[in-house]
């Protein structure tokens, strides 16, 4: 049965959970289709995550390979197609606990960078899993800065081959997923040399393991990089190459080619590559960041409605911890953030789809804007998502610290998103570079992209709010965010200009401004996220019940941002101390309002118990029973205690006689 404390929370819902779920999915039909897939997957024991928290790295890897191969078979049987909604539902449902994910990147890179002939040869083999691919870019000594890669590919005109080498240890490929133990092939990035001249980094298709017995090919040293904070199921690998030869045809050659005599030819635009990288950054957000944040909120909020601790009112029973203002202040802003990020993700996908269509029509004008957006929002969403999951974990006290809560695994995985696909600081500085350019253009009266037109509306002033309810008006808080973002961008631009004018070299001036530039880029993304939340709420006018609660969440998200960064709003006097008091009052009032709907708001995310895989977060709220049942299955309780016989028994053996 459902814990009565949790059942009570649901009776009090001010809106229809089912309607909100459908709205988040896009339609009730999509919800139904998703649920059917989830049921099919979860009823299959191969996909069970039941013992995950007890498994070693080797066990996790083996299970993940099994799943990948089995899923492939299932997809073929069911006739599902790549990129179909079904595949998206499946990946949501598997929580990424599957191998051969890089195989898809291997295929995508060949499709995008390969010639038609290369595509015809390799894609069918890869699609049938007759070869297993990986993607080898990062090196021990080189990550984000692609031009610094040290692996070499020297053209040998005599044999019509490229000779691949790892000239020193820092040039070893390091991190590529699926490469450590699974892949037979990889796309490897290396500095191309022809007749002694370097042409920069190029991609090559390389076989790394025998198709007969899976042993490394001659000249290839390959293995697993060992344990990581999470991703135990993935065989991230290392790869060292010693005079490994690949035929001339294996250099991916949609945009350039080395001809038989060594002539290097380049054609077409490379901008499309740029777009691919950009879109990958956005594509990880939903499954790797926003869903985990939603799961963490679900676990922590349900648990907080069940867990009782201390007395709030003397003489009464112990209070639900969700009734403490400090607990609300921890969890409810994360809940609002999860919704805000769900909506900004939709916005980003729409932006990218429009951009993609323009690009297909050979119009590349929106690329800088798309690049700036993907960089900045990747950084903002992963950063807030990570800190949100950490807050949820800590808000569950000791039990949150048990792996059985599910929260540690969510945390140790989501934190990787701050690092992969571009380190966040580097990305934010790319966004900042775009913003500074736009700001300077706007100041000179030149046209700027639509998303940043606000930069030309510099009108210093004061916030007109007079009462705490005024801060529940989106116009009021949006204007405050806008002013704040403009000020941070313009003051960074001014500092940069001042340094350069006073004789500091450009690169050094830039470095001296980076702490402030990073902050400005964050402020821009934060503003756009609030603005998009406001616009999303406005569009919900045909769903009154949902619109009302979403408006509360939007207000909370916006006011929490002000409450947590008062200095940025007070600095130029746009908000006064009296305004901050009003914001604080409104913000704290909202916590109490949203608290009433907190459980239905996480129920609407519609996670099954199996996908949450949490003893604390199950729908029925029977947290203590489940912790106890799960703990009993732990290997620490299953395999005897050799330490007793070896070390403790000798100490204890004469005690009885002395007691």
């Amino acid at each position: 049965g459902v814990n009565p404390d949790l059942a009570g929370e649901r009776l009090a819902a001010s809106f229809s959970v089912e309607l909100l779920t459908a709205s988040l999915d896009g339609s009730a039909e999509r919800t139904r289709s998703r649920r059917a897939i989830v049921e099919a997957i979860e009823s299959d024991p191969v996909f069970s995550q039941e013992n995950q928290y007890f498994q070693s790295q080797n066990e996790r890897y083996e299970a993940a390979v099994k799943r990948a191969v089995y899923l492939q078979k299932k997809i073929r049987e069911m006739g599902w197609t790549e990129n179909s909604p079904e595949i998206q539902h499946i990946h949501r449902c598997l929580s990424g606990d599957i191998a051969l994910v890089l195989h898809r990147i291997f295929k995508r890179s060949i499709s995008v960078l390969g010639s038609d002939k290369q595509i015809d040869k390799w894609i069918p083999l890869a699609s049938d899993y007759q070869i297993i691919g990986s993607y080898a870019q990062t090196e021990l000594g080189h990550g984000t800065y692609l031009q610094g890669l040290e692996t070499t590919a020297v053209f040998d005109a005599a044999t019509q081959e490229f000779i691949l080498n790892t000239p020193k240890i820092s040039a070893m490929k390091w991190w590529p997923g699926d490469m450590g133990r699974s892949a037979t092939h990889t796309v490897v990035f290396a500095q191309l040399y022809v007749h002694g001249k370097c042409y920069g980094v190029h991609p090559f298709i390389l076989q790394i393991r025998s198709l007969q017995d899976h042993s490394p090919c001659p000249g290839v040293t390959v293995g697993d990089i060992g344990p990581k904070m999470s991703f135990q199921h993935t065989d991230n690998g290392f790869l060292q190459l010693q005079n490994v030869r690949v035929p001339r045809e294996n250099m991916l050659s949609k945009f350039c080619e080395v001809q038989p005599d060594g002539t290097y030819v380049r054609w077409g635009s490379q901008k499309i590559n740029y777009f691919t990288m950009t879109s990958v950054r956005i594509s990880v957000l939903a499954d790797e960041v926003i869903l985990p944040l939603m799961k963490a909120c679900t676990i922590a909020i349900r648990y907080s409605a069940v867990r009782r601790q201390s007395k709030l009112k003397p003489g009464e029973q112990e209070a639900k911890i969700l009734d403490y203002q400090t607990q609300q202040q921890k969890l409810l802003p994360q809940l609002a953030t999860a919704y805000a990020f769900h909506f900004i993700n939709i916005y980003l996908h729409e932006l990218f789809n429009r951009g993609y269509q323009e690009i297909q029509g050979k119009n590349f004008d929106s690329l800088p804007e798309l690049h700036a957006f993907s960089s900045g929002f990747k950084a903002l969403v992963t950063q807030h998502g990570t800190s949100g999951v950490e807050i949820c974990l800590r808000a569950c006290g000791g039990h949150g610290y048990s792996l059985l809560s599910g929260l540690p695994s969510l945390y140790t995985r989501i934190i990787a998103s701050c690092i992969y696909e571009g380190e966040n600081t580097v990305l934010l500085l790319q966004t900042a570079r775009f913003l500074i350019k736009c700001f300077v253009a706007a100041s000179a009266g030149q046209p700027i992209p639509p998303s940043v037109t606000y930069l030309s509306s510099v009108k210093p002033g004061k916030c007109p709010a007079k009462d705490k309810v005024d801060f529940l008006s989106p116009e009021i808080y949006l204007k405050a965010y806008e002013q704040m973002a403009i000020r941070l961008i313009s003051s960074s631009a001014a500092k940069l200009q001042h340094l350069i004018q006073s004789g500091v070299a450009k690169y050094e001036a830039w470095n001296q401004c980076t702490v402030q530039l990073e902050k400005a880029a964050k402020a821009h993304c934060h503003y756009i996220t609030v603005k998009n939340f406001v616009e999303t709420v406005q569009k919900l006018d045909n769903k009154a019940g949902i619109q009302k609660i979403m408006k509360h969440l939007c207000d909370l998200f916006a006011l929490h941002g002000i409450f947590s960064n008062t200095g940025d709003f007070l600095y130029d006097g746009y908000l006064t101390a009296a305004h901050i008091d009003l914001v604080t009052a409104s913000y704290l009032d909202l916590l109490a309002v949203i608290r009433k709907d907190a459980v239905p708001l996480v129920d609407a995310f519609d996670f099954t118990d199996k996908s949450l895989n949490s003893a604390l977060g199950c729908y029925d709220g029977q947290v203590y029973q489940r912790l106890y049942e799960w703990a009993q299955k732990s290997p620490t309780n299953q395999q005897g205690n050799p330490a007793y016989g070896k070390y403790l028994k000798p100490l204890l053996q004469n005690t009885l006689s002395k007691l």
Copy 2:
């Protein structure tokens, strides 16, 4: 050999590393003694942490028990005494990777709460490890709120026994260390009932496992609670009791007793218990929080002086990442924090030693102050320590995410310190309660404890700084911190009073102020930490070289606090926007200054490579070689790949013919 990039950093040191190390240790003699112990321990293979990152929970537990038993033998051989400097050095050196730690708490609780007769009976057995003890307080459903414990102990006058029971699942003991698989005995806390009347929570000595074969005693269900985010080596346990009988003599009875006829007698003061709890909170800070933060700084800063990424100046080689302002802004404030916390820890220990002496002279006046300090600083230090380690981890990019960096283990362990020994929010609110009382007393002209006398000096005004160098004056920034702390405390007090006067019940008014009260308590502790750093630097006047660099770190710590919380300083106009610009300028200047000494400043922490156990943080900076060597030892590379034969081979077997 040492990586030349790192060697160069050391040549440029502006101070003597050896002198600073001695200063941190207290004396050069203490440094020598510590190094001798470290060498003795590290040369012994039993204490090797070499394979730690590859081990399962079962393996970690077994190794930790082995160490505990072996260490005990060694301590006896060497004639070291409990609480001696040697034992402190050993624990620093083992990084807490040892079992039977709760055995010490078992002994301490008997020493403090037991009668002389109980002490005479149990302490010698425990000291000889003829029994193994644990400490069973926390339950599945109850943590910080001790009065809520549900385990019962009913006195049976007929047999002169207590009957212990776990009346429901939430009453099960959960979390006690060493209990899951090791302990034979425990001190268990239960609600005492005599003749149907409840006398509240009392401690009882209980045998839980047979001394003959280690099987659970009749009526006892005991086991391990399963995997956690860290502490794999510790067998945190569960314990369920069904009509388990212990003799009347087993209730710890220094302060109260149930007499044979059931008469309950209480005598003496319980305040000393209060002091014990308080002192445990402080005693965890050094080994569990400050040392891990110092280690994380050592790893991240050394790595950042070796890792090169992108070009700072066009045409030059790639730059050390430590030369980027954004990297300095991540790491150097953590370094300053590590020093600040080292010094506040000394301050807290001095405060407690004085308090202990007063208490031994039956003067309990300082207890509320000590309690408030231990609560607030435990929260502040663990919170900033945890976020500091996370920043260090993320600042090392992908390699920081590898377990081999040592950083994930530091993080997953330090985060527990925010939860155990009192949840941080609960603790900060206890500090806030003390501060509000003192503030109200001060406003009424009553005397208040010396550490909070600043609360009576409310003189609103404006900061007199005119130039950025003015913010390198401790007087200037201390005054700003003081004003800010007073304002946050006084405005919380005012809100509380206002709510109560307008008819809100006291407990509800308190709850409505807790978000602000928590912030006020943090501000107080932050202010005291800055103040103590300033005073520590002043006392270094006989060591000019060290004083100079410590002054820089102190300034950085103080200005980083303002830079990160500008709103709290701008709010009442004590600092203006122009002041914030000066603070920012001075803060960014300091980053560049301290960067020059960053490596020597972490070298001074004097960690051996073995105790860092990090492929990135070793003294010689040979990070890539070490990552590669260590990865090759991973079990993922040692035990074949069963997944190939089972799942991949069937896919690949016909590929050759098609290529």
